[in-house]
Structures are given as C-alpha cells and as structure tokens.
C-alpha cells in the first residue's frame, strides 16, 4: 500500500494540478479555450426568477371536441349514415345511432386506415376511443390521443413563452418542459418578474391582415416588424381572421410542386370571411401577425373559399414546421398559470454568496486547526489533502459547469467536515496496528488495508442519500446533492492517492521512528 511508482506520482500530480487550474479559472482569466468553463451560480445566488407554469388543457380539449363533432357529423352525412343528437358532455362526445348503422360506425372508428380516427399507422393506437353503450355511442380521446394533444399544446405554449421572454430581454433564460403540461422558466438576473408575469398571463394574439401601402386605409395602419426584427411592413388594422378562426396548421409535402408547404384549415366563419377577402385581394400580401410581429406575409394567389389553404414559399421542412407551430400557438392558446414562483433579488444573492464563503472559510479553518492539534504531522497531511480535495471538487464542478446553489455551498462545507473521516479511519487503524506491530511500514500497510471496507461502506451510504436527493430534489436542493455526491468521489481520490502518497513518503523516511503517529 505504500509503494508508488514514478508514473503514478506523475499522474496524481498532473491530475491534481489540472483540476486546481480548472478551479482557479473561475477567478482568473486564462487565455486558453480549454479554461473557458465556469461554475454556474444558481438563481438563489445570482438573483433571478424561477417560474413554474402549468398549461390548462381543458379549453383546448373542449375546442378540439367541438371541432370533432362537426367533422364526425359531416363524415357520416357524406356516407349517408344517420347519427342524431350529437353533443359534448364531460369531455365526451355522445350521439345516437340506429341499430342498422351501428356496426359500420364502430368499424369506422376501429379501422386502422380511418380518416376519422388517424394516428394508427404512426402510433399503433387510435386518437379516439369509441364506447358501445347501446344506441347511444360515446367517443372521447384515447390515452394516446390525449398525450399527443398535451404534447402539442405544450410545444405551442413553450413557443409563446419563449417569445414573451425574449421580449423582456433577460440574459440567458432557461425554458424547459416539465412533464407534458408544465413549463419551467428560469430567468437569471431578473429582479422584478412583474412584467414577465403579466406578459405570460396574456393569451397569444394571432391575426391575418393585409399589407397595404395606402396610408389612408379606413381602418388605420400600423408599421410592424418581421420576426428578424429588421424588415418592416405597413399593415392594415383591419382584421380579416384571427387565431380563433384557425383550426389547424401543419407542414406538408406538396408532391406536385415538390416543395414544403404549410397547410391550414379554418372554421366556418373564418372560411367565409377568408373567402371574401381573398377574392378581392388576389395579388396582395397577407400579413400573419403573432403578438405584434409578422411571422409570414404570403401573397394571395387565389381565392380560398373552402376553408383550407396553403402557404408556400421556399420553406425547408424545418421552417415549415416552425411556422405551423407558430400558427397553431396563436390559434388555440392554452391558458398558462404560474403555479410556483421563487424570486431572489441580486443583493440577497450576493449576501448569500458572502455568507456561504465566510462559513466555508471558518468551517475549513476550524477543521484544519482541529486536525493539526489532534494528529500533528498527519494532521498536516490531512489538511493539505483537504485543500487539494476542495480544489478538485471545485474543478470537477467547473468542468461539468454545474450549478452552485446556497445549499450546494453547504454541501461543500459538509464535505470538508466529513472528508477527514476516511483519513481518520486509516490513522486510527494504523495506531491500533502499531500496538502489536513494530515495523512501521507493515503497520501502515495494515492500517490502509483493514480500514478499506469501513471507508467504502461509509461513503456508499452517503452517496446513496445524495443520489436520491439528486433525483427527488428540486432547484437549490439538487445543488446540494451534486456537491455532496461529487465530494465523495474527490474525497476518496484525495485520500487514497494524495494523502497516501504523502504518508508513504513520510513513513518510508521515518521507518525506524518510534511513536510515529
């Protein structure tokens, strides 16, 4: 246990120096691309807002079912199958059928290639479920259908949220999905979340309006910017259709022209208005405005009276998908509710950093003094190890660009306190060995070997707790789990390589000394 090859010593030194440098790169600027990583400060340390939004899918489901009743009615009308008294109750569609038609209706819903009940080829399950309850049939979204619906409503909502957050212009916002009906928004450095909160509470506003050059437009005009923020267009204030008239928008491949398009469908009112407007407006540019920004301004080529049209114009599949998503976001905006909010002002964050650092310094000093008094030369070895351990820990956190939170700092301080445990176990064991072993080197060997299982057991138990915390905890607490968990590995490394190296050097130089420890 005491022998170290030159190669190993080199490796240990290089490894330690590397991580110390990485840790120090947080403080000093090195002119090297390798050292550009930094520990992120959590919102509780740098100040900022954490918002958890929940999407209310009820209105979306209601609306979709409403549209479905029309589709179902028209579908069976075309096929000359009679259905009566179709209505929505508790997120189910009910309708009456006559005995003779029942089987064919059930077949339509269960058909794998049904137009009415798509998805099957892609998901191996239907969007809708039909329940046979006598002559009154019940149709509702299947599990898969609901999941799909929630996912797409989440995609739309996240798009709206991103645009709103960009509007406020906070630096490096973090917008993430949580489950399939929540969105997490982290806004570092934002002191006053009032504006963003009121923005998030607003429903998205989508309108289709003509681009005009006529300054004297009867309805008034306004200059609006395009998505890129540079180009502008003068747009009439007359709204032809708005988001609520839009039923759906999807990217599609137009096989004839061999180009990607975005196809959209309108409701009845929308179709009528759109038909009228496009019949008089052929050749004009139609601006699609979402929340005051023009997301697209296609030229009207033809009268669109059927209620379904398409936008073309050099889309890649990605841009078509994006535009369709934006259109849908404006079409059926699901209301968002802020269900959790945590805001920390920047001065409190700074105070927390200061307090954390002072606590770390004092805790560290106390432990170091204690260990020196208790173990003298071996205390010194432990202390040097402890310092290197701290730097390696910070280096690892930097390397992974981990987020440091206030509980995270507490985790580091706790690591300092507990890191000595392994060394203490070893030293105490060596002391015992020395009671009946006169050879110092053998005693040290025995101390290291015999304490190993206890050290492993002890660290694994703490690691288990840290792992659970990591997966179950949220925000700041996760930061604690990270520092505690990483701390275990750096501690084991520093105890078994660095401290052992020092002890081996010391012991081999003093192999005949009595009362060594």
């Amino acid at each position: 246990m005491l022998y170290f090859s030159k190669l190993r010593i080199l490796f240990i030194t290089l490894f330690s120096v590397l991580f110390i440098l990485i840790a120090l790169s947080n403080l000093f600027k090195f002119d090297d691309n390798f050292f550009d990583k930094k520990i992120n400060l959590g919102l509780d340390l740098q100040g900022g807002s954490y918002l958890l939004l929940e999407i209310d899918n009820e209105p979306v489901i209601e609306q979709k079912l409403q549209n479905l009743t029309t589709t179902i009615r028209n579908y069976f009308k075309e096929k000359n199958i009679k259905i009566n008294n179709i209505k929505i109750k508790n997120q189910n569609i009910f309708f009456n059928v006559i005995e003779n038609d029942k089987q064919s209706i059930l077949d339509v819903f269960q058909d794998e290639n049904s137009d009415l009940n798509p998805y099957y080829p892609r998901f191996k399950s239907h969007q809708l479920e039909i329940e046979d309850t006598g002559l009154n049939l019940k149709v509702n979204f299947s599990r898969q259908g609901l999941i799909k619906l929630k996912n797409s409503s989440q995609d739309q909502a996240i798009e709206i949220v991103r645009r709103r957050v960009d509007e406020v212009g906070t630096n490096e916002p973090n917008i993430l999905k949580r489950g399939n009906n929540r969105i997490l928004v982290e806004l570092p450095g934002l002191d006053d979340p009032m504006r963003i909160k009121s923005l998030l509470g607003k429903t998205a506003n989508l309108t289709f309006r003509f681009v005009t050059n006529d300054e004297n437009d009867r309805f008034g005009v306004e200059k609006l910017k395009f998505e890129n923020g540079i180009e502008e267009a003068t747009v009439s204030k007359r709204i032809i259709i708005s988001g609520e008239n839009l039923l759906d928008a999807q990217p599609k491949m137009d096989t004839q022209a061999n180009q990607t398009i975005v196809s959209f469908t309108l409701d009845r009112v929308g179709a009528k208005r759109f038909g009228k407007a496009t019949s008089t407006g052929i050749g004009k540019q139609l601006a699609i405005v979402l929340d005051g920004k023009i997301i697209s301004a296609p030229v009207v080529r033809d009268t669109i009276a059927s209620g379904s049209g398409q936008i073309s114009g050099g889309f890649t599949f990605q841009t078509a998908t994006d535009l369709a998503l934006l259109l849908r976001s404006g079409a059926l905006p699901a209301p968002l509710e802020i269900i959790e909010e945590r805001t920390v002002g920047p001065d409190l964050g700074q105070d927390s950093i200061n307090a954390g650092m002072i606590a770390l310094a004092i805790g560290f000093m106390l432990v170091i003094v204690f260990m020196f008094i208790k173990y003298k030369i071996f205390g010194l070895i432990t202390n040097v190890t402890l310092i290197v351990n701290l730097f390696i820990l910070l280096g690892v956190l930097t390397l992974f660009e981990a987020t440091l939170t206030l509980p995270g700092i507490a985790g580091i301080i706790l690591t300092v306190g507990m890191a000595v445990d392994a060394n203490v176990l070893i030293f105490e064991r060596i002391k015992e060995e020395l009671k009946d072993e006169t050879n110092n080197i053998l005693a040290f060997d025995g101390g290291y070997t015999k304490s190993r299982t206890a050290i492993l057991d002890a660290n694994i138990t703490t690691l288990l707790a840290a792992i659970i915390l990591f997966f179950m905890g949220s925000g700041p607490v996760k930061g604690f789990a990270v520092t505690l968990g990483v701390g275990i590995f750096t501690t084991l490394f520093s105890v078994y390589f660095i401290a052992r190296l020092f002890t081996s050097i010391y012991v081999s130089r003093n192999k005949d000394k009595e009362k060594l420890i």
Binding site: V344, A359, I362, K374, L414, V420, V424, A454
Partner: protein, 297 residues
C-alpha cells in the same frame, strides 16, 4: 476503556421514551410546514426606515385580507419574513401588496425574496419529500442487508428510524419550519447515521470472527471503544463545519444546519446505543457471522 455497555438498558429506555414522545408530538402537534409543503406566499423584506417593524408590518398586512399572516424578524433588525396563505391564489398579489405598502412606507423597503407555491405544487413537493426519505431508508436497508447479516440490518435501520423520528420530534416541539432544505438535511442525516453505524458494525463483525469466547455484550463494548476516537473526531469535524454554517451561513441555511447538527448528535448516539444493543438483544454470536458466510459460499 469506557463501559458503554453498563448503560445499554438506561439509554434504550431513554430512546424509547424519546421516540414515543416524538411520535406523540408528530401526531398531536404536527409539523410546522413551510410554504414549500403547505402552499402560500413568502416575502423577505428589507427596510431602510425604522418606522417599519414587525407590528407596523403586521398591521399593514392584516388589512389586506390575505388569510393567516405571519410576520417575523429575519436575522437582523431591518430584515423581515412575511408569510401568508394566499388562499385564493390571487395572481397579482405581490403587486397589490407593493402598492399597498408604498402608501404607508414609501420607497423605504425592498423585497429581497419572493416565493409563491401553489397548492398543487406544495402537495407534490410533500409527496416527493416523503418518497425520498422512504426510498433512502429502503435503499439503506437493502445495502446493509447485502453487506451484513440481518441482525445488523435491523439494528442499523432501528437506529436510522430513531434519528429521523427524534430529529423531526425536536422540529415539532419547537415548531421549527419544515421546508425543502430540511428534507435534504434529513436525507443527509440518514446517510451520516448509517455511515457511523456501519463503521462500528464493521468492527463488531471483525471482532466476532477473531474472538469466539467473548460474549456480544462485551464485544460490542470493545468495538465501540476501538472505534471511539474515530467516532469522536469525525463527529467533531462534521459538527465544526455545521456550526460554521449555522452561525455564519446566513438565515436561509439556519434550519438546514440545525437539523443536520441534531442529526449528527442523534446519529452518533444511536450508533452506539441503539444499533449495538439490537445485536446484544438478538444474541448475535460468532456463529451468526460464520454461518452466514458459509451460506454465502
């Protein structure tokens, strides 16, 4: 050598009483859940005007019809912590409060921290907290069961339950707030207490193999004494670090470090006086260890 085993019975009795009292407290008095687990709104406020104090703040907030309002000093004289239920989960409550406070205090105050947890989220956080603690206890049980014989597992788990229950009992007794960081503390306590127990058990098992003629009553005492200086030093350094957090780490970490300090003290105590006495009461002997090992082979 200190005769720890002389007091096995006394301390077992004491621990039983502590556990029963803690359970009674938990059942009848309950825990003081913070907004993380109860839902509601928290505002940390810093005042730059001496007119702003606990009673003037309480007056103001009580007029606003926010349900149950609690106003406390937080750390120093200029910082206050205001908590209220926000029962209707009003959306613009913070803005309303600001407008209201502006009327009486002008610009002489500042919101340093605002937390608002809806009822749904708090219920989920509570659930995941309970799951986390149960899961960690279960994992420890499995781990120790793999590493040791069942008598040892029982001892370790009883010690763990003791530490968690009594720590929570103290929090209940003094109505200290339970929030997310306390859950983190409890989990760390679980890890620490286990750590401590395992070190002693490791030695007990080693001694069991070594000495066939020493009774477990004596043997545990020998093992405790052999590992005693390690127990003391590790507890001491951990406590030193925790005391540094408690006194210098700011108000936010106070509850967390206090829970940890309690946990380390109880954890150290229970490793000696609960974990080991279980071995004694189950009459563990050399045969227990050797038989198990033969089975494994």
């Amino acid at each position: 050598m200190i005769a720890f085993n002389k007091y096995y019975n006394h301390f077992n009795l004491l621990s039983s009483v502590l556990i029963v009292v803690s359970l009674l407290l938990l059942i009848f008095k309950g825990l003081n859940f913070g907004i993380d687990f109860k839902g509601g709104t928290l505002i940390e406020l810093r005042a730059s005007d001496s007119k702003i104090n606990v009673s003037s703040l309480r007056d103001r907030f009580n007029q606003m019809d926010l349900g149950d309002v609690s106003v406390k000093k937080f750390g120093n004289d200029t910082d206050f912590l205001v908590k209220f239920e926000n029962k209707d989960n009003k959306k613009n409550i913070i803005e309303e409060i600001k407008a209201n406070l502006d009327k009486s205090f002008g610009n002489n105050y500042d919101f340093r921290r605002v937390e608002n947890v809806g009822p749904k989220v708090s219920a989920e956080l509570l659930k995941s907290g309970v799951i986390a603690i149960s899961l960690s206890l279960a994992l420890m049980l499995i781990y120790i069961w793999i590493r040791f014989e069942w008598q040892f597992s029982l001892g370790a788990i009883l010690a763990l339950f003791h530490d968690v229950i009594v720590t929570l009992g103290v929090f209940s007794l003094f109505s200290l707030e339970i929030n997310l960081s306390i859950i983190a503390a409890v989990l760390t306590i679980v890890g620490y207490s286990m750590n401590d127990t395992v070190v002693i058990f490791d030695r007990v098992r080693e001694n069991l193999r070594k000495y066939s003629d020493i009774k477990i009553f004596e043997l545990t005492n020998i093992s405790i004494n052999e590992t005693l200086s390690r127990t003391i030093i590790t507890s001491a350094t951990t406590l030193l670090a925790l005391l540094a957090i408690y006194f210098f780490g700011g108000e936010i970490l106070k509850g967390f470090s206090l829970a940890m300090i309690l946990g380390v003290v109880f954890g150290t105590y229970s490793s000696i006086y609960i974990a080991n006495t279980v071995l004694v009461r189950l009459k563990v002997s050399q045969k227990t260890v050797l038989r198990e090992e033969n089975d494994k082979k």
